[in-house]
């Protein structure tokens, strides 16, 4: 059996940005959890769109419009196939994960009653907390938190105890952006379904690392942002089971999402158009498809194996620094290392290593409840992608050591 491995030097050539310098040093980009970089193959698709067939889609009779429509719908099919989704109309294009979640949270307004319960994991991104808080305010439903332990793992016994016939919705990320934890979403989905609750899994952070099989997961909703998986900014998807998407009311009103409009009465269009009001991010959708092609060309299993090695190496190396503490030490984790050094503010480390050309993120990573849990102001977060190398990890470790020497 031949195991495919990854030709890292060839891959790095695909990403023009990796050739640049920052503060006179070669860029070491370790902020992939915030946004991944874009290969030339995807940039080329964007350029080709604007140079050759830019046009508004659907309903257009002319060639440009038909070519753009075909390309946009082909991208929808690529996404469908990638995530093993039953119907292409279960793929709703949105402007990103945040909008995908808001669409569902707004839609559930009429399904919930006072006293209904919504379960949220303790390690969510603000995008997967605030919309539900707003929903609870509108409906009188109650938000209950699935606790986590010090390793950054959900306490599953507590989760099972929280479940009851009052539970209407459970939402949780597939991978935590602040800790890297891979959550046991299959267990969560199955248990939630037993009490009749719907489950939304926020896949924003998982999608670049794990190829989710949405039919096997039997999840009700799944969300993805293209910019976190080699795609462009401003586009993402909401996957929803057909039965849910049929039940949910439309989110925004506008062109494309209607069948008939009179001033007296409007009837809505079929899926997926019902949820896609207005001119979409046409080029973005097409480029999202190209990004999937690119990643599948390498293979998500190959990527995951490579990244796991990298993260393990980085973990070992970083832990050689005295006083360095890693937050998020779950048994199952991927691609993210959040850490602090005793007595040093994460912002200071981030600032110093930036001077060395190393891009890490510092702060609460839009997950304040996690920071509150650990009683810290934030962390330094290094997040890895398949185009990063062990040499870059060494530079990070070197940089953090230097920062520590300067700051303490």
């Amino acid at each position: 059996m031949v195991t495919k491995t990854l030709d890292i030097q060839k891959i790095r050539k695909d990403f023009p940005i990796l050739q640049r310098e920052v503060n006179g040093k070669p860029l070491v980009y370790l902020d992939n959890a915030a946004t991944s970089q874009t290969p030339q193959q995807v940039i080329d698709v964007i350029v080709d769109y604007y140079q050759r067939y830019n046009a508004n889609i659907h309903r257009g009779v002319h060639t440009l419009s038909q070519e753009a429509t075909d390309a946009y719908e082909a991208a929808r099919h690529k996404i469908q196939k990638h995530f093993n989704i039953a119907h292409s109309h279960e793929v709703i294009f949105t402007s990103g994960t945040t909008q995908s979640i808001n669409l569902v949270a707004t839609g559930f307004t009429s399904f919930l009653e006072e006293g209904d319960e919504i379960l949220v994991s303790a390690m969510e991104h603000h995008s997967n907390i605030v919309p539900w808080q707003m929903l609870c305010e509108r409906t009188g439903a109650i938000l209950r938190v699935i606790p986590m332990n010090l390793d950054g793992e959900l306490v599953m016994e507590a989760f099972h105890k929280l479940l009851s016939n009052k539970t209407k919705l459970v939402f949780c990320n597939h991978v935590s952006n602040a800790l890297g934890t891979i959550n046991p979403i299959k267990e969560i989905i199955d248990a939630a379904h037993k009490v009749g609750a719907a489950v939304l899994i926020d896949g924003a952070q998982a999608a670049a690392h794990i190829k989710a099989d949405l039919q096997a997961l039997d999840v009700d909703f799944y969300t993805v942002s293209a910019h976190k998986m080699c795609g462009p900014t401003g586009v993402g998807i909401l996957y929803g089971k057909e039965e849910w998407l049929k039940k949910l009311p439309p989110y925004q009103g506008g062109g494309e999402m209607i069948a008939e409009v009179t001033f007296e009465k409007t009837t809505y269009a079929d899926l997926p158009h019902k949820f896609e009001a207005g001119t979409p991010n046409i080029c973005g959708g097409i480029a999202f498809g190209a990004a999937l092609d690119y990643m599948n060309g390498i293979g998500l299993d190959v990527i995951a194996r490579y990244e796991d090695e990298l993260v393990q190496y980085a973990t070992e190396q970083l832990l050689t620094i005295k006083g360095l503490k890693i937050y998020g030490t779950a048994a199952h984790k991927t691609s993210v290392i959040s850490f602090n050094i005793e007595g040093i503010h994460p912002y200071d480390i981030g600032t110093i290593v930036d001077k060395l050309g190393i891009a890490v993120r510092t702060g609460h990573h839009c997950a304040q409840p996690i920071m509150d849990f650990y009683e810290i102001p934030g962390t330094v977060r290094a997040s890895f992608s398949f185009y990063n190398t062990k040499e870059e990890v060494d530079k990070l470790v070197e940089g953090v050591k230097r920062a520590k020497d300067m700051l303490l």
Partner: protein, 140 residues
């Protein structure tokens, strides 16, 4: 004639044309000669969705064969549905269900074959086949 034979005929006819203009002119002719649907069948139920123009199709059993009549408010659309009806009308439901639509490609209307096309050719074929499936069940 079988569906396949009719399709061959249509391909032959279209192969005589050198350019799109002649093809479209012929299609417009076909549209004009379409056996019209009776006014009473121009109902919302018989309207095919997904077209920029309105297309109504009505189906009726004649013995064990299915007979289609149709109309559209656009003449090119009418020509397209006329071609489809010529190929599929007066055939057994099962044969309609089994038939392919590659001849569309061969007569130079390939651009109409994408499911996203505004003219709804794909929706029309789908609708004809749906009728065939419905009557097939009825025949059994």
């Amino acid at each position: 004639m079988t569906i396949k034979e009719i399709q061959e005929d249509i391909i032959d006819e279209f192969s005589m044309f050198d350019d799109w203009m002649q093809r479209y002119e012929y299609m417009i002719e076909l549209g004009k000669s379409l056996p019209l649907i009776e006014e009473q069948y121009k109902t919302d139920d018989n309207l095919i969705k997904g077209c920029q123009s309105k297309v109504w199709v009505h189906a009726e059993l004649d013995g064990d064969k299915l007979v289609f009549t149709a109309d559209s408010d656009a003449i090119i659309t009418k020509g397209i549905i006329a071609i489809l009806i010529r190929a599929f009308s007066n055939q057994k439901p099962q044969d309609i269900i089994d038939a392919d639509t590659e001849f569309i490609d061969e007569i130079g209307l390939k651009e109409h074959l994408s499911p996203t096309r505004a003219n709804g050719l794909v929706s029309m074929v789908k609708q004809l086949k749906l009728y065939a499936i419905a009557y097939q069940t009825q025949l059994k």
